[in-house]
Amino acid sequence: MSQAVKKKNSTTILDSTRVEIRNLTKQFGSTTAVHNASLDIENGEFMTLLGPSGCGKTTILSMILGTLQPTSGEITFNGQPINKIDMSRRDIGMVFQNYALFPHMTVAQNIAFGLDMRKVSKSEKKKRVEEAIEMVQLNDLGNRFIKDLSGGQQQRVALARAIVIRPRVLLLDEPLSNLDAKLRKEMRTQLKKLHDELGITTIYVTHDQEEALSLSTKVTVMSNGIIQQIGTPKEIFGKPKNYFVANFIGYGNFLRGKLIDEQDGQFIFEADKDSVRLVVNHDKQHQVGDEVILTIKPEMLEIITDPKIGMNTLSGKITVSDYIGSATGYEVETKEGRTFKVNVLGLNPYAMGEEVRLYLDPAKLLIIDEE
């Protein structure tokens, strides 16, 4: 409700665009950078392409932008194919990783560049540039040259320059990766607010899972040019589809094995390596006999002292202790020779070499597939 009101009052509301990517493939010589990717990005959605460097996310972005031509496949804006449209006619707002601000122009001239190209009238241009400057909180810096700005301010100029043209789609290529941790968080919040206000369809590329989860309405996880999973941040974080996604999102502990039996609505899992048996809650996708991977987040593993709990416990000793303020990360080596990563909130009450028992809650263990 309040957001609807806000949208109505804002003068910079944009007609947003639905982006469809169909069977997109890009080959460089014999290497395939993007393999048969299909992706729907709804009106006003904030879609993040998440993956390690070299996974193909920037290649997809470059094809939407028009600096690269797809080997095959199609990209459409509101159903209209854009492959053949020159990049200067695609109406895309782009924020480059290094901002790519024009050093020989002032902040205001940089922001006005896209409006100059659109032959916007002088008064209209002035109004829109001022609006954009205010929107990214760069008031009074309009006449500065770019080299006189800090990294964070440059980042905001880049953003203002991209949105002032009222683009159909906003593309951001790791825009926060060059800011320090505190500023990055601040900019993240600002970016989110801006997206809420303007409702531009946004495609954001990053390798930082925290950014992806915090900003997006939808996340696409990629590796080796292949889309691994598409989902809301909650789906991606709570139900990673396979080993790659789980590992990338920060599930640190993996056990490969087989579901060998079913009891009281729970599976019995046996590990390949050392025949460790664990009880795990039933899920709908798997059945007895499946080769699976069990995974659990370091935060979900518990170090227990209660000797009564016998099921799903493993004994071991602390081999690594990494205190990071709000939590302590331990590595526990079990008798079977496995290493588990455990995060414990607060102080670090365990000493190096201390004998502990780990409890793997059947409800918190997740069954995933290799691929």
Binding site: L65, G66, T67, M87, S88, R89, R90, D91, I92, G93, M94, F96, N98, Y99, A100, L101, F102, P103, H104, F113, G114, M117, R118, I146, K147, L149, S150, G151, Q154, R161, I165, N178
Partner: protein, 287 residues
């Protein structure tokens, strides 16, 4: 803490080993030469007679005009050719390295070999004229050597090589993302060049242009070998060399050299005045 505090006066003595050759081989002859322009051969008194002679005798003052008439148009053409070639091969282009290599190659040959090559290629019975006559395009061969045209061609080949060798690296200093940014904001290729690429590379290009120009004002071997040193390509150095080596008038030779130096400084200041009217500074702002 502060190293400078400990720098004593006698530490500057360490400069002497490099300073002495410089003073003896460069500064002293320069000053001596300058003083000689105010003297007559075999007399000791100071006089302006050499300069009066230079600026009243057309045999001397014509060299200013002749040198500039040869070198300035050549330099401008060199700049256009070198800029065009290096601009179009600046992105990864198949064969770009070979084109750059061939453009810069004449530098390794030096002036005299290039001059000889121009003669071999463009003389009345050379490949150029023979081909045109055989194709039936012309009846009489063009006279392209031992005159203004010959010197001009040889200068262009060497100057293009020199400017291109400098521009190849400079083209790479302009972040391609800047051009991409302009393009996504709606600029055509031409507008992107005009409003983003050129303003950023302009000051460096003009610096190289000025450097090449003042180097070519000192042209000698090309003017003598493939030009016509008696009239059309009678440049500063040709006259200075004649005075020193044929007439043994070192005072007049030095006078010509000083006038040439002043001409070079004037040309340099004109180019730099133009350069100062645009953006001068780094093409990168990223922090």
């Amino acid at each position: 803490m502060n190293q400078e505090v400990f720098a004593k006066k006698r530490d500057y003595l360490l400069l002497l080993p490099s300073l002495i050759p410089l003073l003896l081989l460069f500064v002293y002859p320069l000053l001596k030469g300058f003083v000689m322009t105010f003297q007559q051969p075999e007399t000791a008194g100071l006089t302006l007679a050499n300069y009066v002679e230079f600026f009243t005798n057309s045999n001397y003052y014509d060299t200013i005009w002749r040198t500039l008439y040869l070198v300035v148009p050549a330099s401008i053409i060199e700049l256009f050719i070198a800029f065009g070639i290096t601009y179009f091969i600046r992105e990864k282009m198949r064969g770009g390295g070979i084109i750059a290599g061939l453009t810069i190659f004449p530098l390794t040959l030096g002036s005299i070999i290039v001059d000889m090559a121009v003669i071999a290629f463009f003389k009345p019975t050379g490949w150029f004229n023979t081909t045109l006559i055989n194709m039936g395009l012309i009846d009489e061969p063009f006279t392209l050597v031992y005159n203004y045209a010959g010197a001009f061609i040889a200068l262009v080949i060497l100057g293009t090589a020199f400017i291109a060798s400098n521009l190849v690296g400079m083209m790479g200093t302009i972040d391609p993302n800047l051009e991409r940014a302009a393009r996504t904001l709606g600029a055509s290729r031409w507008v992107t060049f005009k409003r983003v690429f050129w303003p950023l590379i302009r000051s460096n290009v003009l610096t190289v242009f000025a450097l090449n120009l003042i180097m070519q004002i000192g042209v000698y071997s090309t003017a003598v070998i493939v030009g016509n040193p008696a009239s059309e390509t009678r440049t500063f150095v040709v006259v200075a060399f004649e005075e020193a080596m044929r007439n043994f008038n070192y005072n007049m030779a030095n006078t010509v050299a000083i006038v040439m130096g002043i001409t070079q400084l004037l040309v340099l200041s004109i180019v730099f005045a133009i350069r100062k009217r645009g953006y001068i500074g780094s093409a990168s702002t990223f922090k």
